[in-house]
């Protein structure tokens, strides 16, 4: 590429001389790299990169100003009273526009008067004694941010309530230049697209849509016979019919439950130190049932939060409250009871925040929230709702629990086999005579105190159950208990509950929400890309009585949802992150969905619903290597199941919190130590290894291959058949040619070496059929190629 040159008489001067080509190449690489980095915002640290960016016509407080104030100023001039400096705050208008407590006669912000606005003078000052934010905060405003604030003050320094705390309204559909789309959603999307000079994509093919809708609604690929039925020319209003078909499938409830289990931090073990067994699976069976029955979301929440407090509660309603007992529970001998009991109540409070309200409530556990208008007092008022349970920090240690077969800490209910013949028929008892499930009660009323720094042993002032006024006031007529809390949550005036849920459904279908930070609708969270659409959907959802199937149907019927997912060259430039939805998304499925996909397409899937969790294949030794040794609890050794239980859907895979199934966590499943609402979508070498070498997948490839060879030992259509089975479409010519060549080469290899072929097709416990070993092995590898394709594990 180049050479080192030394100058005569100047041995100290050395120059690395490159030839012309390599210089050009380097410059080009640097240019492309720089451009790419710039597009991605890599140079945030160079303040002036954005200095030339045009300012908006009208500066919007919520969208432009508050993100700056919150990120750069609230730490000292925000909601946290204890950390507030100079006695003034910028998060509320009255304070920001009032006389400065420490500088009489001066004001932080004077609308339309820059020279009198001390805060503005401070942020543009170079004088270290005046400058804001101060140097030691390690925060700084960019030139662009300063200009925004300047313009905002010039335009009158309008404050607004945080967007997410304002009750959503259905506004009139926007006027668009063109007509496009099927329903209201499309009008909002098209409006934004037109603003960006972008065009929506064409409708995807019916084949693609069947696969997409099937994955979204059932978490499974469509069966070949379903595909041919749905594609039959006779079927009218095809897409609506497809959606209805999958919404009616029992697999729908399983798919929805899969996502809810992350929110509910469901696990089959207690977590913490010994991480022994618990029996919460009947609660999981209830969730499946609830989704399949299409229980309205407000009822769904009410039963889970307060089913036990309803008048004459049914056993089903009490069972639903298991939601708030899914948190980790310690079984470590020698813990301090109150420390752990407090942890459980904290967990419930945080889960309510993150999982249901989209608020980072936990930030206010130790001090007033730094960014959102939630004080530490607000936090413990919420905490008080969950603090009345008759429970202990430590009921018994793991060894005792094992000896007494004690798998549910009080309070619990007992479900007997008889009951599941009747009202609780949705629980799959699998011949177990009875099972205990942890539930909630309010049998141990106690006073709640604000805990200094959130520490269990530092109580300060007492508080009563209440909700933060900044969000939505708690009506006087509501009972001050969890039932009242549920009513407050599901009140149509609550600005958050419906928005947060609608956004999560959107994220489930589109890969990311209209608010990207599904867990945080607060001041520091992302702003909605389509605020009017989000509000319209939220209100529409409530107007339709929180009907989840209605909501899904609505979104899926939109042209926005039904677009092709290809990245058109123009979109690649204009909107690489697909913020404006000029195409459908394309993203990797979850670990559970991938495993289920493989089981279903291979024909191995066992469709049994519910019951105790199962232990399919897992690399040996994982539990054994890290357990506490000996007899500490019942989950020290992994005893793999046999037969049909190896092929259950992944939501039934046994979840041990300290070592969750690796073929799920490698695909970004959370540990379930706490509530999680958003998974990452990474792309790593370990995922490639799972897809290549997990017995579960290799066995599926083998079974698929051996069945085809068994059915017709001399078929000419193996490749097409296997391709269609897995990808739900026919291969094109190139694909068919490539795979056929691959199969033929592999076949030749295995015909020469049948011993190796025999070894390969021994994989997995599923019985072998009497088929030609070389053919089966070669076809198995061909299936394995297809299972490893990006398209296979991607929802398109």
């Amino acid at each position: 590429m180049g050479k080192l040159i030394t100058f005569k008489g100047r041995p100290d001067l050395k120059v690395f001389q490159m030839n012309y080509k390599s210089i050009t190449a380097l410059v080009l690489i640097a240019l492309i790299g720089g451009l790419y980095a710039y597009k991605k915002g890599a140079f945030e640290f160079k303040n002036d990169e954005y200095a030339t960016l045009a300012l908006p016509e009208t500066v919007d407080y919520n969208f432009h100003i508050k993100p700056i104030l919150s990120d750069k100023c609230y730490t000292c001039h925000g909601p946290d009273a204890n950390k507030r400096k100079a006695g003034f705050r910028l998060d509320v208008q009255e304070s920001a526009l009032s006389e400065l407590p420490e500088s009489p006669g001066h004001f932080a912000i004077v609308p339309k008067n820059l020279r009198a606005s001390k805060a503005y003078l401070a942020i543009i000052s170079d004088d270290p004694t005046v400058q804001m934010p101060p140097a030691d905060s390690k925060l700084a405003l960019s030139a662009y941010e300063k200009k925004l604030i300047k313009k905002w003050i010039e335009q009158g320094a309008q404050f607004e309530k945080h967007w997410a705390y304002i009750q959503p309204q259905k506004i009139a559909l926007p006027k668009t230049l063109n007509t496009w789309g099927n329903n209201e959603i499309d009008a909002f999307v098209l409006k934004k697209l037109e603003e960006q000079n972008m065009l929506p994509s064409k409708k995807a093919t019916n084949e693609t849509l069947i696969r997409r809708i099937s994955l979204d609604l059932t978490g499974l690929p469509p069966k070949p016979e379903t595909v041919s039925q749905l594609l039959a020319p006779a079927s009218q209003d095809t897409i609506a019919h497809i959606i209805d078909t999958f919404l009616a499938s029992p697999a729908y409830g399983e798919r929805m439950t899969q996502s809810w289990l992350d929110v509910a931090r469901y696990a089959d073990s207690h977590g913490y130190q010994d991480d022994s067994y618990r029996t919460m699976w009947p609660w999981r069976d209830w969730v499946i049932h609830a989704f399949n029955k299409n229980l309205p979301y407000d009822t769904f929440l009410t039963w889970q939060l307060a089913g036990d407090l309803l008048p004459n509660p049914t056993k089903e309603q009490i069972l639903a409250t298991g939601f708030n007992r899914n948190h980790p529970i310690t079984q470590e001998g020698g813990v301090i009871q109150e420390e752990y009991r407090t942890n459980y109540v904290l967990d419930r409070t945080n889960t309510l925040g993150k999982g249901i309200l989209g608020l980072t409530l936990e930030c206010a556990r130790c001090h007033d929230h730094k960014y959102d208008a939630i004080s530490q007092k607000d936090y413990f008022e919420m905490f008080a709702f969950f603090n009345q349970v008759d429970e202990k920090g430590l009921q018994m240690d793991a060894v005792q629990a094992k000896n007494q077969a004690f798998f549910a800490d009080p309070p619990f209910i007992q479900v007997s086999d008889d009951e599941t013949d009747g009202v609780l028929s949705f629980i799959n008892m699998k011949n177990i005579p009875k099972v205990n499930v942890m539930v909630m009660n309010d049998s141990a009323p106690k006073t709640t105190y604000i805990l200094n720094r959130g520490e269990y042993d530092q109580p300060t002032d007492s508080v009563l159950p209440n909700t933060p006024k900044s969000i939505f006031a708690f009506a006087d007529n509501l009972p001050k208990n969890r039932l009242g809390l549920a009513q407050w949550l599901t009140d149509r005036q609550n600005p958050l509950t419906a928005r947060v849920f609608v956004n999560r459904i959107w994220a489930m279908l589109f890969g990311k929400g209209l608010v990207e930070t599904s867990e945080d609708f607060g001041v520091q969270g992302s702003l909605p890309t389509h605020p009017e659409l989000m509000d319209w959907l939220a209100v529409d959802f409530m107007e339709h009585d929180w009907d989840i199937k209605y909501l899904l149907n609505k979104i899926m019927l939109s042209a926005t949802y039904q677009q092709k997912s290809e990245l058109r060259p123009d979109l690649k430039k204009a909107d690489p992150e697909n913020i404006w939805w000029a195409r459908a998304p394309r993203f990797r499925m979850s670990g559970e969905m991938i495993r289920d996909y493989v089981l279903a397409t291979s024909g191995l899937l066992n469709q049994e619903i519910g019951g105790p969790s199962v232990k399919p294949y897992q690399p040996p030794g994982l539990w054994e290597e890290t357990n506490a040794g000996g007899n500490r609890g019942v989950l020290t050794n992994y005893v793999q199941d046999q037969g049909p239980d190896l092929y259950r859907r992944s939501l039934y895979t046994f979840w041990k919190r300290t070592l969750p199934p690796p073929n799920m966590t490698i695909f970004d499943a959370p540990t379930r130590d706490f509530s999680e609402v958003r998974r990452q979508k990474t792309n790593t070498p370990l995922q490639a290894l799972v897809l290549q070498n997990d017995v579960q997948i290799l066995e599926a490839a083998r079974v698929l291959a051996q069945n085809l060879v068994y059915e017709d030992p001399n078929s000419q259509d193996y490749i097409t058949d296997i391709f269609k089975r897995i990808l739900v479409r026919s291969p094109n010519e190139k694909e068919l040619a490539a795979l056929s060549n691959y199969y033929q080469d592999a076949l030749k290899g295995y015909e020469r070496n049948r011993v190796e072929a025999e070894k390969l097709i021994e994989l997995g416990e599923y019985p072998r059929l009497d088929t030609d070993a070389a053919k089966t092995a070669a076809l198995m590898l061909t299936a394995q190629v297809i299972y490893n394709l990006d398209e296979t594990i991607t929802k398109e």
Binding site: Y36, D275, T360, Y371, A628, P685, E762, N788
Partner: protein
């Protein structure tokens, strides 16, 4: 574009950029362009550079953390307290306990009789470091190590305490320190993960380990610790099944690649290119990991140095040797866990066994790194999650006693990577109960470790749920006295 987004463009933070990179095709070219060994030009401007670059000149490039899980007693390792023998059996004075909360295991004891160590202590090396006779090999490297006797924490139960040490918080869900280092410094080897975990089991009373200890929390999961296991499948799913040869595997991957490329053209989605690259890395790992794990070419002198056990896969000694090999291959953070240090009873016997498991190999690792010139830029740390009480747990029997958890004072050692060799830092009172000089909190320890790696603990942040998180949360001071 940014303007049209209606959102402040500067809200896109710098790590967002890198997470974007990791997805797109750009990661391949740009990642190496922007994150080469940038440190050659000396000091960088604080806070003005992207990730993958230290904030200032690092003393260490990598860390080997020999975590002694369960919490070894400081009173039988490095904190010599002859007073305990003089006042053996006397009740722990309330003036010393001073309200310290106790675990439920001893909180109800009527008495807290002081218990002297069952082992003798001697001073070693020019530094005159006090080390118990349980650790004869460590004694020989007394002048290479820095012993800190003034560590303290708040947690008194294993789970929160070990979580605190590994993630900077007692609350689950934060990234492990290895993940933070991977996030802050990037990888030095394309074929191996930058954060690797090895576990071994002692014979003493042990506590379980949890994968959350090496989780990347809210950081990108590529920073997650990869568990390297003994046995034939060192990385989960690494081995191809029987019946597929290496060349057949290559054919299969070529086929996958070719079809993926066709689909890339159809969809225009560069994520597919990234997937192809991940498959290639996986293929390379299938070679590189067994290569690193294969100790068959280690000479006898090395086997003798670490002790015979190092040939038995899964032992602490084998893992220590493995740690050196991983360090040589550019792994950034190598985390060992040795279980079995929870001596609530039978302490004299159990600790002798535990010490025998780890003593020789820990010292060997330091010596081995030194002889290869790697000790100067490798930071080795040895220690547990808290200390143990100076009073007897259970029946008072100097030959067979236990010690309960103790958060207020405990000892660890560090070596290499810019720490002062032969230093004895911090003091406890005569009872070995309270720190009386130079306390080092876990946050301080993290800040110092990061400093040694060239990272400012206040600068390396990640914004999650609106808050800038740090390994040191809101505390931590760099203890410069520890650094050379």
């Amino acid at each position: 574009m940014e303007e049209q987004k209606k959102e402040n463009p500067l809200k896109v933070n710098r790590r967002h950029f890198f997470s974007q990179l990791s997805i797109g095709i750009g990661s391949l070219a740009l990642g190496s362009l922007l994150i080469p060994d940038l440190f050659k030009n000396g000091q960088m401007n604080l806070g003005q550079q992207p990730l993958g670059i230290p904030h200032f000149a690092p003393k260490a490039k990598r860390v080997i953390y020999l975590f002694q899980a369960g919490a070894p007693s400081q009173l039988e390792t490095f904190d010599y307290k002859p007073m305990l023998r003089k006042r053996m059996g006397e009740d722990l004075p309330e003036s010393i306990r001073n309200g310290q909360r106790l675990t439920g295991m001893t909180a109800n004891q009527e008495k807290f009789p002081l218990m002297p160590p069952a082992v003798d202590f001697r001073q070693h090396g020019q530094s005159g470091t006090w080390i118990s006779d349980f650790f004869p090999y460590t004694a020989k490297i007394a002048d290479e190590i820095t012993v800190i006797r003034s560590m303290h924490t708040e947690a008194i139960n294993h789970d929160p305490a070990i979580t605190f040490f590994q993630t900077g918080s007692q609350i689950s869900g934060r990234p492990s320190m290895g993940s933070w280092m991977s996030y802050g410094l990037g990888s030095e080897n394309k074929n191996l993960p930058s954060f690797v975990v090895l576990t071994s089991r002692g014979k003493g009373n042990s506590q379980g380990l949890y994968s959350k200890l090496w989780s990347s929390g809210f950081l990108d999961s590529k920073h997650q610790g990869v568990l390297l296991r003994s046995g034939k499948d060192p990385v989960l799913y690494l081995n191809d099944p029987e019946g597929i040869s290496r060349s057949e595997k290559r054919d299969l991957l070529n086929e996958v690649s070719a079809l993926n490329k066709l689909h890339h053209v159809e969809t225009g989605d560069d994520e597919i290119e990234s997937r192809i690259a991940q498959y290639e890395m996986a293929y390379r790992m299938q070679m590189s990991v067994p290569d690193v794990m294969d100790i068959s070419k280690e000479p006898k002198s090395i086997i003798d140095l670490y002790g015979e056990d190092c040939q038995v896969p899964g032992t602490y000694a084998a893992n220590a040797l493995q740690a050196r090999r991983l360090a040589e291959n550019g792994v950034r953070f190598i985390q060992l866990y040795h279980q079995g240090w929870d001596q609530h009873g039978n302490l004299p016997n159990e600790m002798a066994g535990q010490a025998k498991d780890v003593d020789q190999a820990s010292a060997a690792l330091v010596l081995d790194l030194k002889q290869r010139g790697m000790l100067e830029d490798t930071l080795v740390i040895w220690g547990g999650e808290f200390g143990r009480g100076n009073y007897c747990q259970g029946k008072f029997d100097p030959a067979n006693y236990g010690r309960d958890h103790h958060p207020r004072a405990f000892s660890i050692w560090m070596a290499g990577g810019g720490v002062k060799p032969g230093l004895n830092y911090g003091k406890t009172d005569e009872f070995g109960y309270n720190v009386i000089e130079n306390p080092v909190h876990i946050n301080d320890f993290h800040a110092t470790l990061m400093y040694a790696l060239g990272l400012d603990h206040e600068q390396l942040t990640y914004k999650y749920q609106g808050r800038r998180f740090r390994l040191t949360d809101v505390a931590g001071n760099v203890i410069k006295d520890l650094l050379a």
